[in-house]
Symmetry: C2
Subunit: 202 residues, 2 copies
């Protein structure tokens, strides 16, 4: 959009919307136009919700989740006793696991990324020390490493396992295998090999 | 996202983001998380830009464009004398034509939709009367009907042409033909027939 045809305020709105993941330069224009048309119903409330979230959002000092309270709703949930802690790379992974709702009594620990020497990410850039301190403080009986199945994820998992070796806790990781609903024909060799190796009784 | 795991402010932000075109429920969560992480760099400025646009945006009383001034930047541009007016269905079409920058001295008239008896949209729901008044006020020598090539768009174009019949002005419409960069094999019969009929000297 050239400067000539809309005011600088709309221009700026489009530029900022284009930085939201899921929106590109083209869809940002469409989104901006929709917001301008639905001023009262959508743009006003959305601006308010963002301003409110901006004021209230905190990073949980216990687990690294983002929420409007610190400690977050998960850490303060009385049904979660903290005996099982799932270690994730990112808040998005935490939310994904919660949506799956497979384990209701767990707490989390957000690493903030993975070890990646090439990108200059070392142990001190992640919350590994805090994880070890959390375990040292007691009450944890199992750590589930739910990092991504990438080289960096697995390297990080190994690093964490080494640093938790001195504690009397179980350290587990997510199972590898065929995704539910997945078709064998489309799966890579590594996944098929892992699924065969970890086959279970039918 | 169930209520249990994030505060109501974040919940509300996700719900409102999901109403933005281009974002669905899943990408709204991803967008919200990105905004929460980039609080200072993105969420704050975006909330501010929306609040500012909310306060300042007007619909241009002359042409129906949205802008922060009324009349809009296009209607007040001294290089545009108003002799040629392009009639479009929607502000998005106006912006698209401006981006194409094929004609630099035109003004616009936004209809606000197309005639659609089935949806209860009649002539009074569009700005057809205002268009006729604009032409009657003088200074217009050509009206270009740049409505969509749909049944509703063409019906609306015919209706407008009838109401402008009494004035000594040219009424034109966009050419039909092969899109630039388009492959004949993928085009529909109607477009190919129109392109053949309107063939030009090479």
């Amino acid at each position: 959009m050239s400067k000539r045809i809309v005011g600088p305020e709309i221009e700026k709105l489009i530029q900022l919307l284009a930085k939201v993941p899921g929106l590109g330069p083209r869809s940002a224009r469409r989104a901006a136009l929709h917001l301008l048309k639905k001023k009262e119903q959508l743009m006003g409330p959305l601006a308010g919700a963002m301003a409110e979230a901006f004021d209230k959002v905190r990073v949980c000092s216990a687990c690294g989740n983002v929420d409007t309270s610190d400690p977050c709703m998960i850490c303060t949930d009385p049904r979660r006793d903290g005996a099982t802690v799932i270690v994730v790379e990112d808040v998005a992974d935490l939310w994904a696991l919660e949506r799956a709702a497979a384990m209701s009594n767990v707490r989390y620990h957000v690493l903030g990324g993975t070890l990646s020497p090439l990108d200059g990410v070392g142990p001190d850039d992640l919350t590994i020390r805090q994880l070890v301190e959390r375990v040292a403080a007691g009450g944890v009986s199992e750590i589930i490493l739910a990092v991504n199945a990438t080289v960096e994820g697995q390297t990080t998992a190994h690093y964490i396992t080494d640093h938790l070796a001195g504690f009397d806790i179980k350290v587990t990781r997510l199972a590898h295998g065929v995704p539910v609903g997945g078709e064998l024909d489309y799966l890579d060799d590594g996944t098929l090999a892992a699924a065969l190796k970890s086959r279970t009784a039918f």
